[in-house]
Amino acid sequence: MIKTDKKTLFSAQERIIHSLRGMYGMHGYLPFKMSKFEKYDFYMKNRDFLLGENIISFTDADGSLLALKPDVTLSIIKNAKDSAGVKEKLYYSENVYRTSASSHKFKEIMQMGLECIGDIDSVDVCETLSLAADSLELIDENFVLDISHMGFVASLLDAAGLSGEERTKLIFLISGKNLHEASALLEKCGTSSDITEKILALTSLRVPLSEAPKALSPLVVGKAAEQALDEIAELVSNISSFGRADKMFFDASLMNDMNYYNGVVFRGFIAGISEGVLSGGRYDALMQRMGKSSGAVGFAIYLDLLEGYSDGAGDYDVDVLLLYDEKCDTGAVLSRVNELVGEGLSVSAQKAVPEGIRFRRTERIGG
């Protein structure tokens, strides 16, 4: 049996996808496969969720307008069953088509993610978080999973009495941990000093998840925040069942779109990668907007960010360059190739040293 699980044969990305699929499958998540196209209308209706993404559209043979999928979550929601007691656990790895923020051109991006949809409860939220942490650990041990809850900021913003435009501005400042401008804005809006202090404290808060309930309790204002605190406290009490609690932090400046996300939100970081590679949360609000009454929690991993990521496996293209000449016996060359492959080494049999291939060592056969 030939060993083909060698590190050099696969890119870090391919190996990660392979292992993640295995992990999700073991937890009872089923693969969700979708077609490349959806009706253009479908994405237009939910354009905000796609963060103003441009969509590649084209006309089908029958004249209807189709789009290359920019997202998978929306399609999963569309197909979700919506009845009490039912929940679906799905994962996907699909190419999506989006515009790159830096080049403003379309890019094909490999996206992987999982969604738990339907009559979900705290077990599902905890399991999703723990799978998020496990997924990150599988990519690299040096990771961090930041967790927050939309309820805290939402209720403080309500208490501050901010209007649409100022609210948007403040959300931007909170997510940039920009205390100096946030305090100036709140002063300008005439927000009470008590609420201002709480908003600023929340903006700068970053503690290990286990310390979050204690740190958050003085910052709770309103029912939504009380409920959020209960949820976080429940997460913490279950934290021992998560393998990697030491890598989990509570950071209230972490926010996803409030029109879609309403509960726990989280983002994963890998040391050396400048952006969050994993993003997710509870999105019952999005479900409601799409006419579903049940809840959902899930996350996506942006595999394109791992492109430049190296785990040292890609230093060589092939282990052995096997050089032979015309005089060599064909059988001898083939049997040497099989011998090396049998030893677990990758081999490239060539008559001359090829350009642009990096190999660990060279071996000559015959002459």
């Binding site: 040096n142 961090v144 930041d146 940039g176 941990k177 920009n178 205390l179 100096h180 401008e181 970053r206 932090f249 400046s253 970081f269 890998i270 040391a271 050396g272 990668i273 400048s274 952006e275 969050g276």
Partner: protein, 209 residues
């Protein structure tokens, strides 16, 4: 201790910024030697400085080549990088302003022609006033545009107003005050929280009024 990579804006502002870092104990004497070197390291205090074009600081930080950096608010408003903004350093102070020829009158029946380097800032400013504009993107010598009739007004940084005066221009309105800000890469902050927090706290103690 983890090394902090720090992007400093080349030029006068960068020197002032370095002086503040030095005062907080993050010195790197080598940096003061005149030469062509661009990267300076002091392992003892855990810093690696490098000089980059001021308008590029936010790119280095957003992409994680630098953990932290100091950039003008003008650049942060124009490019809106996804970074943390920890401090207003209160140096490099100036303002983003609209300027026109002396006695300029905004005739709202016409589309306003605006010349600027800061396209996004100009667009956002006029959009908030529902004013229709025609943006003319220039890369330098902006002041000349209204004089030659290329534009009605300019949107640019005004420090003392001397250049405007010498060209018979004046400030029509101030859009936003500008100063240097301490920014940090969001991912770096997760892994170097202690180092970045300590440096930011030390700097906040010596910010000039």
């Amino acid at each position: 201790m983890k090394m902090l990579n720090i992007a400093l804006p080349k030029g006068r502002l960068g020197e002032k910024v370095y002086a503040m870092f030095e005062k907080c104990g993050y010195e790197c004497p080598e940096i003061k030697e005149n030469g062509r070197k661009l990267i300076f390291e002091n392992e003892e205090v855990g810093v690696r400085y490098f000089w980059v074009k001021p308008s590029d600081v936010s790119i280095y930080v957003e992409r994680g080549a630098a953990d932290i950096g100091v950039a003008g608010k003008d650049i942060l408003l124009e490019y809106a990088p996804d970074v943390y903004e920890f401090l207003d350093m209160n140096i490099g102070k100036c303002r983003m302003a609209v300027a026109g020829k002396k006695g300029f009158f905004d005739d709202r029946r016409k589309t306003l022609k605006v010349a600027t380097k800061f396209v996004e800032i100009a667009k956002a400013h006029y959009a908030s006033k529902c004013r229709e504009i025609d943006i003319i993107k220039l890369n330098g010598s902006i002041e000349i545009a209204p004089i030659l009739g290329l534009s009605d007004v300019i949107v640019d940084i005004v420090e003392t107003g001397t250049t405007l005066k010498e060209n018979d221009l004046e400030v029509v309105e101030t859009i936003v005050p500008i100063s240097a800000r301490l920014i940090a890469n969001k991912s770096s902050y997760k892994f170097k929280t202690e180092e970045i927090t300590r440096l930011s706290a030390a700097l906040s103690e010596i910010i000039p009024d």
